[in-house]
């Protein structure tokens, strides 16, 4: 069953915290992964793969570059879950 947006955000925040140590409260929808959270491309890919596992979705390589903000990722995952 598809998760609500808030549940996806909370799960994603845990993944970001595991990979980077960034506090889960700092992972908010409007934050940019690169500019606000200072997450580099390799960490981003680790987050993507862990998100695929956690939420049971597929996030293609070519889609990753479009995930600018946390909100972009949450929207993509929510939609991909159907």
């Amino acid at each position: 069953m598809a998760l609500a947006q808030s549940e996806v955000l909370a799960g994603l925040a845990e993944i970001v915290n595991d990979e980077t140590g960034i506090a889960t409260e700092a992972v908010q929808l409007e934050k940019s992964f690169t500019d606000d959270l200072d997450i580099d491309s390799i960490s981003m890919m680790t987050i993507v793969v862990n998100a695929e596992d956690k939420f049971g979705v597929k996030i293609p390589d070519e889609e990753v570059k479009n995930l600018i903000t946390v909100g972009d990722a949450v929207s993509f995952i929510t939609a991909a879950q159907g």
């Binding site: 580099d40 491309s41 390799i42 890919m45 680790t46 993507v48 793969v49 390589d61 570059k65």
Partner: protein
């Protein structure tokens, strides 16, 4: 008149790596030396790649010079004569001639003429491809001893302004002698390719485009994120398969020697494999850089030289790179 019966090769049951040889570039290139053109810094490069310095070859030190040096060390270490070598396999992507092969010249220079000699193009997987072929040649009885060399002078094919791969790269050559053994020394190889990602790592242009004036001197580049995902999560599957076909557990390993692509690939791959702390993880990239086909034998040679692992222990070696191509096997350390 009766039909004559053909002779065929007499097979040998097992093979092993007898010895290794190593040669690195003669110049130590710091992060500060490469940071300017990519608008970066020592700290940024260390954090993202683990590299502190990389070894590069000066203009006067050729790929062949490094290959000869590494090969002679391996031959001496094996305690054989060069004339006993039954095949020379040279894995490289930086031999500057389309033909003839680097291997034929190497065979002649080291005294292995007229051994069959050929190059293989499997980039960063090339050394493991070479060991797989050497193992097959030895066990099938085609050759008693096989020289496998992974060697690159990548600095001839870099763009100092490229932020995808050039700043990682170093130069060197690693060599191994493979020969017959009374006990198993090289596991079955798990190897393959995925040409659907042919463009993920490669050159900026072809030689034809260079000839036609539509491109500059071709240099290396990669799609970092695509390669990272494949190198960690797909290669973790390959590594597990290699352990399975070898019939060993991760806890049986003395060392994990991956292609030295990037420290974060190495560390994440090790994490995925859930290796016990007793397994030494090769991190030669820190002071050598990424030397493509040379990186696994160079890293293994360094572990042995530093006494971090002992002869007779088991090492999982796994190469992966342009093609995409990959190869993994468990070997007994020479």
């Amino acid at each position: 008149m009766s039909q004559p019966v053909l002779n065929q090769y007499e097979t040998v049951k097992y093979s092993r790596i007898y010895s290794l040889g190593a040669a690195r570039g003669d110049i130590t290139v710091t992060n500060d030396d490469v940071a300017g053109p990519i608008d970066s810094s020592d700290e940024w490069i260390r954090q993202r790649t683990g590299i502190i310095t990389r070894k590069r070859a000066s203009k006067d030190l050729s790929l062949m010079d490094m290959a000869v040096s590494a090969s002679l060390e391996a031959i001496a270490g094996a305690g054989i004569e060069a004339s006993e070598i039954g095949a020379v396999i040279f894995s490289t992507i930086t031999h500057p001639h389309q033909t003839p092969s680097a291997a034929a010249l190497l065979a002649d220079k080291i005294g292995a003429n007229p051994a069959p000699a050929f190059d293989i193009s499997a980039a960063c997987a090339g050394y493991c491809y070479g060991i797989a072929q050497a193992d097959a040649l030895v066990r099938s009885g085609v050759a008693k001893y096989v020289l496998v060399v992974g060697g690159e002078k990548l600095s001839d094919f870099i763009d100092p302004t490229d932020r995808t791969i050039s700043f990682l790269l170093g130069d060197g050559a690693g060599a191994a002698i493979v020969g017959p053994s009374e006990t198993p020394g090289i596991s079955p190889t798990v190897w393959g390719s995925d040409g659907s990602h042919w463009d993920a790592v490669g050159m900026t242009a072809s030689l034809l485009e260079l000839r036609d004036g539509t491109a500059q001197w071709p240099t290396l580049r990669q799609e970092g994120q695509t390669v990272f995902r494949w190198a960690v999560w797909e290669m973790a599957k390959v590594a597990r398969q290699a352990l399975e076909v070898a019939g060993v557990e991760a806890s049986d390993l003395a060392a994990l020697v991956t292609h030295q692509a990037n420290i974060r690939i190495i560390d994440e791959l090790a994490k995925q494999l859930q290796l016990p702390e007793s397994v030494v993880i090769a991190r030669d990239i820190i002071n050598t850089g990424n030397t493509s086909a040379a990186s696994i034998p160079l890293a293994m040679h360094q572990l042995l030289e530093d006494g971090e692992v002992k002869s007779g222990g088991l090492a999982l070696e796994i190469g992966f790179g342009a093609g995409l191509a990959f190869g993994a096997q468990v070997v007994v350390l020479p």
